[in-house]
């Protein structure tokens, strides 16, 4: 016959085993989470490195995070484009001035062959 004291002790001991052992699983879950996060971080770093490579290729002069060189390059290209367009406008204007004279000369030649 098991006494009341024995039943209490067995219950207490069982409670320790039932509560603490499953609870010990929590650190393992946390460690697994940390490992998973670390793997995730490695993937992010790899992607980040890929962007670094692309940025370095696109902007070999400037450092990463610095778009000044490209801004200057853009402005230089835009200035060059504007200059070329102005040149084109100038020659179009000359062409427009020459056109009526060409017509007049053709008329003159046909009138006085």
């Amino acid at each position: 016959m098991i006494t009341l004291k024995a039943r209490t002790l067995i219950s207490t001991f069982s409670l320790f085993i039932l509560v603490i052992i499953p609870a010990c699983d929590k650190p393992e879950r946390l460690a697994a989470e940390a490992a998973s996060l670390e793997a995730q971080r490695k993937l992010i770093l790899a992607e980040s490195e890929a962007y670094d490579q692309r940025l370095r290729t696109a902007n070999p002069v400037g450092s990463i995070g610095d778009t000044q060189t490209l801004e200057f390059q853009k402005r230089a290209s835009q200035t060059k484009a504007t200059e070329a367009e102005l040149k084109l406008q100038k020659w179009t204007a000359w062409e427009n001035q020459l056109k009526p004279l060409k017509e007049k000369a053709a008329d003159y030649k046909s009138k006085y062959p």
Binding site: A23, K26, A31, A34, R41, A58, I64, T67, A84, Y108
Partner: protein, 282 residues
Amino acid sequence: MDDGKFWPALIVLALAVGGIFAFRYFEMYDKANAAAINARSAINLATEALNFRRDMWGRVGTLIQEIAEANDRAQKAQAEADTKERMVSSDLTYLSKAMKEKVEAVRLEATKSEIAAVALRNGKTLRNAKIKKIDDESATFLHSEGVITVAVSDLPSELVEKFDLGAESIVRQLERLERDLGSKIDAPVVDTSDLLRVRKRIAQITVQLEHATKHKDKLEKEVTDYGEEMKKAEAKGIPTTNISSMRDIAEGNAGMARIQLRQLQTELEKLKVEEAALSKKK
């Protein structure tokens, strides 16, 4: 062993086992918790760095596209302008020469024949007129009453047109165009004056300032973020040495960025004063 001796020993054993489990549990929990916190913090930093690079790539991609578009525009316009330049120059040279030869031939041919009557604009009529000489301003006739030099303004319009006379003659217009083209052909399209140089520099400094401000703000934000991270770590009892070092580095960088920003602002102010002085001079 009777009940009185067995049970206390069992209680002590149970408490010892429980205590060991509890100690092991808390030790493992602390380690795992610290590792998880570090991993979360590291992943946040990595994500932030990745987002920064993605954002950069977006901006760089846009810039590259804009540069390519501008280069394309420049190339097309330059090619078209070169074609027009060659066409206009050669057409004008050829036309001017051919027209002069043609007018000379018409004028020469006219001296070989006689015109029955030339009605001048001043009301006078020249009978049996023969052209002796034609230049750009006048024509000399030998007629029934003698020799007369008639100014272009008095000549009938059909002769003005036939001999291509006067200021608005085709040859003169072509010569003017050639002269104008010759004087303007080598003129630079873009003004290279001091004012333009200063304005270009102002534009450059403005862009630099914009970047320097963003850079400084970013570094200052980093300092604040590290500060908050330190507070959180301290509250959780995690060592903060690494975060503290990183915050110090960020603080140093932010200080440098502030100095650079002030230097750029000073240079911009100086350039604006120079620009104002050059504008007044102009």
